[in-house]
Amino acid sequence: MSDAHSSPYLAHHFDDMEQQSQAASLGMWIFLAQEIMFFGGLFCGYAVYRLKFPEAFSAGSYSLAIGWGCFNTVVLIGSSLTMALAVRSAQLGRKAGIIKWLVITMFLGCVFLGVKVVEYSAKFEHNMIPGRHFEFHDDGKFVVAGHGDHSAAVGHDEPVHAEAGEPADHHAAEAAHGEPTEHAEPAGEDNGHGIVEINQGEVELFVGFYFMMTGMHALHMVIGVGLIIWLLVLTAKNRFATEYYTPIEMFGLYWHFVDIVWIFLFPLLYLIGRH
């Protein structure tokens, strides 16, 4: 008891280590709760548009590389395992174990981010970036409605609609462009050849959500990798002990949360329209 009250790890406004540790846990879980609501806004928007434009969302999902998605899922869940092992090492006071598992977690996190760079580059190359130059290339399964030729040739098709999503930093003179073009009638009719017609604007919405959701997720991972470096420095400086490893434990919660977000992102973004 007296140790808990006079521990060098005890902050002055707490009575004992137990109270401090419980406060940290509660605080971290509340932070994760607000993160759930933060990502939740994106999931909500996604759900609305997915229900309105199922075919376009299938087309967008089909355009993602499922191989990379699966690989990243395995990598990230693996990093969750190694993070749990890092926390376990901290609980047991094994400094070498902490460092080993944190480094592996960080490595896996970087692999994940590297794959995202590859995926994003592929999107850039095919101009599947939301904005003025967005293009969806007809593939064998999904075809932009209104494109005359439904052959499987990967043609460089012109975007169907005029650009209406101009960046709004122009001055009032250009406000005349402001008339939104008529949103094309929802397509998605199977034209009988097993090919689904979709509306390019709606696919652009999917791709916009893809970038926002995976981008926000990736940002959280980058922050996580930075925090791992900070934890490694603290560990090397012997700042943790069996009675105090709270930062590692709390970071572990954060990292697992980031994994959980991906557990939902992966099927919602990569696995629709595969059948």
Binding site: Q19, D169, A175, P180
Partner: protein, 546 residues
């Protein structure tokens, strides 16, 4: 009844005492403070500044509205003024107001703790708030934003000129101050109560702050991501709300109001907490129905999340969803009404006295009730079709926000001023100002109910001639109201230098912050750690003259 301060409580050598304000006086000791009481003062200064920013904007457009024509401000500037007024008042004054000031100061004191659970996080929130507000200030100074504080798409995301990105980013950053403050308060109340301070011995201010914190944590992240989506659409061309792609502007409204409706409960619940404390003290009586008031705070926090669609009744939201939202909105009035009944019941057979905090609290009860009842009109789907976007709505929310929340804030500020500063303000000036504020407020906003019911839309700078009298009365009232506020802004700082020094408990109130600390408190709050043995508000009959 003797005047506060001139009592046996006054301790002679006050001038020499060391307390949280004077133990260190360097700028660094303020800017790097971890003391929740000093952080309160930091917030108080910042939010007062933004109150003035919002007030200046209001002054300008109230001048414009004195005449039916648009002659004083151009249409664009007018739009920018009401936007600036809304953004400054809501995000940078009302949302932080009581939680970040009185909440920060009082929560540890009321529960018997040395500080909040995460003092460094607390300081960080002030910096986040200030930095976020600077982005908004940048937008204001560099030409302003004219979208309305509601930033509706596709205007804000595509067509508006002006620094929408800066303003929305400012809201985003300041939102995290709110979230982290709420997080801090929840953990503090759960984990740092003094021995004997059970949940049902907590002052009702704590229950209110706790409920507010729940809303802050669950609601604010949604507006954070929504602001980012606006920025993504404007800055990166990711057309989430762009109708040309199939995007749905009403989706923005859903996401925006999912936070912004609970936000009004963030704004008002702490005010309810203050009123409970003030009424108990100036009736010398335990608040009637303590548990009901405690649970009704939680009920408001929870039910408040189910009703946001009442802002979307005429937005092309489905009428079925509208029915559900209208139905649910009626429910949220019930716990609020319970509070009002209980406060009034507390007054009955209480030993009532009319010091300034009590005057504001009584004004609150009347004005908030009017505002709340008019909210029922607006939540009735069929009536809202007629009243939506008229001055009736403007009057409704000003009755609850100004007649309610600002009066509660002033009540609390006056009540705890002796504790926070160790000084007593001039009671005569304060009483006089409170009457001016009350009269000015009603003169400003009651005509707006009428002109709104008659059909005048909000956010218009021109209007048909027949409404000029009402608008003129409103503008006249605004100058009276402004004068009242200016009086407060004068005599309170004046008291810091020239006011009588306060004893530890000038109101003879119950509560750890009054009975176990000095005025102002020492840096570590309590000389000896308190142990709680009585219920809250354990006033005895006739205890005023003890």
């Amino acid at each position: 009844m003797s005047a506060p301060g001139v009592t046996a409580n006054e301790v002679a050598p006050e001038e020499r005492r060391i307390h949280y304000l004077n133990w260190a006086t360097t700028v660094k000791s303020w800017l790097l403070t971890l003391d929740h009481k000093r952080i309160c003062i930091l917030y108080l200064c910042t939010i007062t500044f933004y109150f003035l920013v919002g007030a200046v904007a209001a002054t300008l457009f109230r001048i414009e509205l004195m005449t039916p024509q648009g002659d004083f401000l151009s249409a664009e500037i007018y739009n920018k003024m009401f936007t600036m007024h809304g953004v400054a008042m809501i995000f940078f004054f009302l949302v932080p107001s009581i939680p970040a000031t009185l909440g920060n100061f009082l929560i540890p004191l009321m529960i018997g703790a040395k500080d909040v659970a995460f003092p460094r996080l607390n300081l960080l929130t002030w910096y986040l708030f200030s930095i976020g507000s600077l982005f908004a200030l940048f937008a204001i100074i560099n030409g302003g934003v004219d979208t309305g504080w509601t930033f509706y798409t596709p205007y804000s995301s595509t067509y508006a000129n002006g620094h929408v990105i800066a303003a929305t980013f400012g809201v985003f950053v300041a939102g995290f101050a709110s979230i982290l403050t709420g997080l801090n308060f929840i953990v503090t109340v759960h984990k740092m109560r003094a021995p004997g301070m059970t949940w049902f011995r907590l002052p009702l201010f704590i229950w209110a702050a706790y409920a507010t914190s729940i809303i802050m944590v669950l609601g604010t992240p949604v507006i954070a991501i929504t602001m980012l989506l606006i920025i993504a659409e404007r800055g990166l061309g990711i057309g989430i709300f762009d109708p040309a792609l199939g995007g749905d502007p009403v989706l923005f409204q859903h996401l925006f109001w999912f936070y912004s409706h609970p936000a009004v409960y963030i704004m008002i619940l702490p005010g309810f907490g203050v009123i409970s404390e003030v009424i108990a003290c100036f009736c010398r009586k335990r608040v009637f129905g303590y548990e009901f008031i405690a649970f009704s705070s939680l009920a408001i926090a929870i039910i408040g999340f189910f009703v946001w669609g009442h802002h979307l009744f005429v937005s092309s939201q489905s009428v079925y969803a509208g029915l559900i939202f209208s139905f649910l909105t009626f429910f949220v009035g019930v716990p609020t009404a319970i509070k009002i009944f209980n406060w009034v019941a507390t007054l009955y057979k209480g030993s009532v006295s009319f010091e300034t905090p009590m005057l504001y609290a009584l004004g609150f009860i009347g004005l908030f009730t009017v505002g709340g009842l008019t909210g029922l009109y607006l939540s009735t789907l069929a009536i809202d079709i007629h009243l939506h976007d008229t001055y009736f709505v403007v009057a409704h929310f000003h009755y609850v926000m100004v007649g309610g929340m600002v009066l509660a804030f002033l009540s609390g500020l006056h009540f705890w001023w002796p504790k926070m500063t160790g000084r007593i303000y001039n009671e005569t000036a304060a009483k006089f100002a409170s009457v001016i504020v009350f009269i000015g407020f009603n003169l400003t906003f009651f005509p707006q109910f009428i002109v709104g019911y008659l059909g005048m839309p909000r956010r218009y700078y021109e209007y048909p001639e027949q409404w000029q009298l009402l608008q003129l009365l409103s503008s006249a009232g605004a100058s009276v109201l402004g004068f009242g506020f200016l009086m407060v802004l004068c005599y309170l700082p004046f008291s810091l230098v020239f006011g009588k020094r306060a004893g530890p408990n000038p109101w003879r109130a119950k509560g750890l912050e009054w009975e176990e600390t000095t005025s102002p408190p020492i840096a570590h709050n309590f000389v000896k750690d308190p142990i709680v043995t009585e219920e809250a508000y354990a006033y005895t009959k006739g205890s005023r003259h003890v």
